[in-house]
């Protein structure tokens, strides 16, 4: 087995695919929750990721310049998460709530507008240029490299990828606990299944909506910070570029199924990276210029043969 699936495969295709999949997965959780609980495709979701990463960058720079303390991105992300979530609860209150009982297309358009407003705002405040998140290049972790090399299975993983994969796992377990064990999580699932029924059984829908923004926003900011850690830079369309694959992940997993979104994200991230592995011969299987197409091919095939997604999500 290892002859054909050598370590090149693990190091350069499988692990990067997993990292990308983790980022898609976290983003897709928020999309699938807003889609099922608020009942619209939130195009501004990528901008939550983006602005969260910008807030994190600002916290890192401020701490370094004012107090001389360089913060790890994950520490700096804590205040950024709160700011970004607060911002989106305000956006919901003033831009989405007026459309809550109107036809879906209006609130979708409102979210589209919000996406452009936030991106322009960030360009106005931070400028259209790329910002350096962490300079330099990330070399593989020496400890892991030496240890695995000594048993003839050299694994090359930079530290940032350990953080991303571990962070995603922690968030996933926390989310699972929240959705299955707490009252608010059960409320969210109830509203997702049927808002009318949830309302008559005494669930305060507005609180659930706020909780949705909180959970979705938290995951989105985490995805944005992980993406910035991986890219080591920030730019204003970084969230938008991830938006469509994240929609594909949410649809693949089934709308309203957070764990479906996670699986969907991993499948899409892995499929994109593995599709360029030289499975036959020496050249890559498909030209890397077209690997985005792989994500959408999976999504379209899924919509045709099983519209409810892998985990039997909601049909619209």
């Amino acid at each position: 087995m290892w002859e054909t699936f050598g370590f090149e495969f693990v190091n350069f295709y499988l692990i990067p695919g997993l990292v990308l999949g983790c980022i898609y997965a976290l983003g897709a959780i928020g999309i699938t929750l807003t889609f099922s609980i608020l009942r619209f495709a939130n195009f501004a979701h990528g901008e939550v990721m983006m602005i969260g990463a910008y807030f994190t960058w600002t916290a890192m720079v401020l701490s370094n310049d004012l107090f001389g303390v360089p913060l790890h991105p994950l520490v700096a992300a804590a205040p950024a998460v709160l700011l970004a979530i607060g911002l989106f609860i305000l956006v919901d209150r003033y831009f989405y709530k007026p459309f809550r009982y109107a036809s879906t297309i209006r609130v979708v358009m409102a979210s589209f507008g919000m996406m452009l407003i936030i991106r322009s705002f960030v360009q106005a405040v931070w400028g259209p240029n790329q910002l350096t998140f962490v300079p330099g290049i990330a070399k593989p972790n020496e400890l892991v490299k030496n240890f695995t090399a000594s048993v003839d299975m050299m694994i090359l993983v930079p530290n940032k990828h350990f953080w991303i994969i571990a962070g995603t796992l922690v968030i996933m377990f926390a989310l699972s606990w929240l959705l299955t064990k707490t009252k608010i999580g059960k409320g969210m699932r109830a509203v997702s299944d049927s808002p009318e029924l949830a309302k008559v059984s005494g669930i305060d829908v507005e609180i659930i909506v706020k909780a949705t923004w909180f959970v979705g926003g938290f995951c989105a900011v985490a995805a944005g910070v992980f993406l910035a850690m991986d890219l080591q830079m920030l730019e204003t369309t970084m969230g938008f570029r991830m938006l469509l694959p994240m929609f594909a992940a949410a649809i693949l997993g089934g709308i309203g199924r957070p764990f479906g979104a996670v699986i969907g994200g991993l499948v899409i991230g892995l499929a994109e990276e593995l599709s360029v592995y030289p499975w036959f011969g020496n050249g890559s299987l498909i030209s890397p210029g077209y690997k985005t197409g792989v994500a959408f091919t999976i999504m379209v095939v899924m919509l045709v043969i099983r519209p409810s997604g892998l985990f039997k999500g909601r049909l619209f």
Partner: protein, 397 residues
């Protein structure tokens, strides 16, 4: 009533611009993947506008020369929108601008050529632009075609002793164009192209791409825009040790690349760009003007931006009116020999010669701007390496 006032006001505004100003459109990639490169180019355009108005403006009546700016975002769709607005709403006489090749081709094919408006690009260098016109003579550029730069880059690689190289290019007109020329000429010179692959811009990871290509060689020719994947691709290649030597062209030549990847990792990286012969009279005149205005005189495409704007004003002056149909011929007349030599900044002198019925020949900051039958100019290229944390260029002979 309110409608009538609004209509009246609109007529008034339109009428005043039509009478008093000569307006040209300037769709620059202010946002998008290369904002750092474009900012000084925009300053070059504005400086030309300032010089023209300081030296008597347009025509005998001294009408104001106005640059109407729009954002083409280095994106074909955004460029078509921006130029449509400039041509149909701002009623510009001509277009000076689209920065990127894909944007220039898209706006020319679907907007400016059908409208009969001249486009003079400041930096679009794709070989595809040379032969895009069919019977019309409306697309010009003040930057040299990559048909030449690709060859220069191949010669440079050869002179560095590179025998085999992998090519990775972003899937757009500019990058695919120069990659094709490079690969062809490198192979013709006896080099070996181990792989030649497109990559999708704006991806979060290029590890798989560089891993696939890196098994055969240590040298990579990367054709991309630094802001839409170029930096990430180079970073990924360095992280996994797939490549150690990089060559590339204009789209990657930005301080951002050094700031993000680190000068210590770019020891064997060389990028070429279009440049000027710094000993020429045109460049000397331009350098004095640019230094006075605090603009980087030798910045990529900054002299070309000044030249394009200046030539457009000269052409309109030569044509004698802001009529769109007369610009193409007038542009060839002022840019090509024969005629009295006009250097950057000498607008008043040119104006006087034109008024007296004489011929002028503009010799620009970026070199002579004599257009060939395709509206292309010849040019010089420089090889840039990192020195003391910044790019330093030397001209390629």
């Amino acid at each position: 009533m309110r409608k009538q006032i609004a209509a009246g006001l609109a007529c008034y505004i339109l009428a005043t611009t039509a009478q008093a100003d000569v307006v040209i459109g300037n769709p620059m990639a202010v946002t998008g993947p290369i904002p750092d490169l474009v900012a000084p180019m925009v300053a070059g355009v504005d400086l030309a506008e300032k010089h023209i108005n300081e030296q008597g403006g347009m025509f005998a009546s001294g009408e104001k020369f106005v640059v109407a700016r729009a954002d083409s975002q280095c994106d074909p769709v955004a460029a078509v929108d921006a130029v449509t607005k400039l041509i149909n709403v701002s009623m510009v006489t001509a277009i000076v601008g689209p920065v990127c090749s894909g944007a220039t081709i898209a706006q020319a094919e679907s907007v400016s050529i059908p409208a009969g408006v001249v486009t003079l690009s400041v930096s679009a260098s794709s070989p595809a632009i040379s032969n895009m016109e069919n019977g019309t003579d409306l697309v010009f550029r003040s930057a040299a075609s990559d048909a030449y730069q690709g060859v220069a880059l191949a010669e440079l690689a050869m002179s560095k002793g590179i025998k085999d190289i992998a090519v990775s290019y972003a899937n757009d007109d500019y990058n695919a164009g120069i990659a094709e020329v490079f690969a062809k000429s490198f192979a013709a010179m006896g080099g070996k192209i181990t792989s030649n692959e497109a990559h999708e811009p704006n991806k979060a990871s290029y590890r798989a791409e560089v891993a696939t290509m890196g098994s055969a060689t240590d040298n990579l020719a990367v054709f991309a825009y630094y802001g839409s994947g170029g930096i990430t691709l180079m970073r990924n290649a360095l992280e996994i040790g797939a490549f150690s030597t990089f060559i590339g062209a204009d789209g990657m030549l930005a301080q951002e690349v050094i700031d993000q990847i680190g000068a210590e990792n770019l020891g064997s990286t060389t990028f070429t760009t279009s440049t000027s012969d710094q000993s020429s009279a045109g460049f000397t005149a331009w350098k004095a003007l640019a230094d006075a205005a605090d603009i980087p005189a030798a910045g990529p495409f900054v002299p070309n931006s000044y030249d394009a704007t200046f030539m457009m004003a000269l052409a309109i002056e030569k044509a004698g009116s802001a009529d769109r149909s007369a610009i193409s011929g007038a542009l060839r007349s002022i840019a090509n020999a024969p005629g009295e030599t006009i250097l950057p900044g000498e607008f008043a002198k040119a104006k006087a010669i034109i008024a007296a019925g004489g011929d002028i020949h503009y010799v620009g900051a970026s070199g002579p701007q004599d257009f060939d039958e395709n509206g292309d100019v010849a040019g010089y290229f420089s090889a840039n390496v990192v020195k003391d944390g910044a790019w330093e260029g030397t001209i390629i002979d």
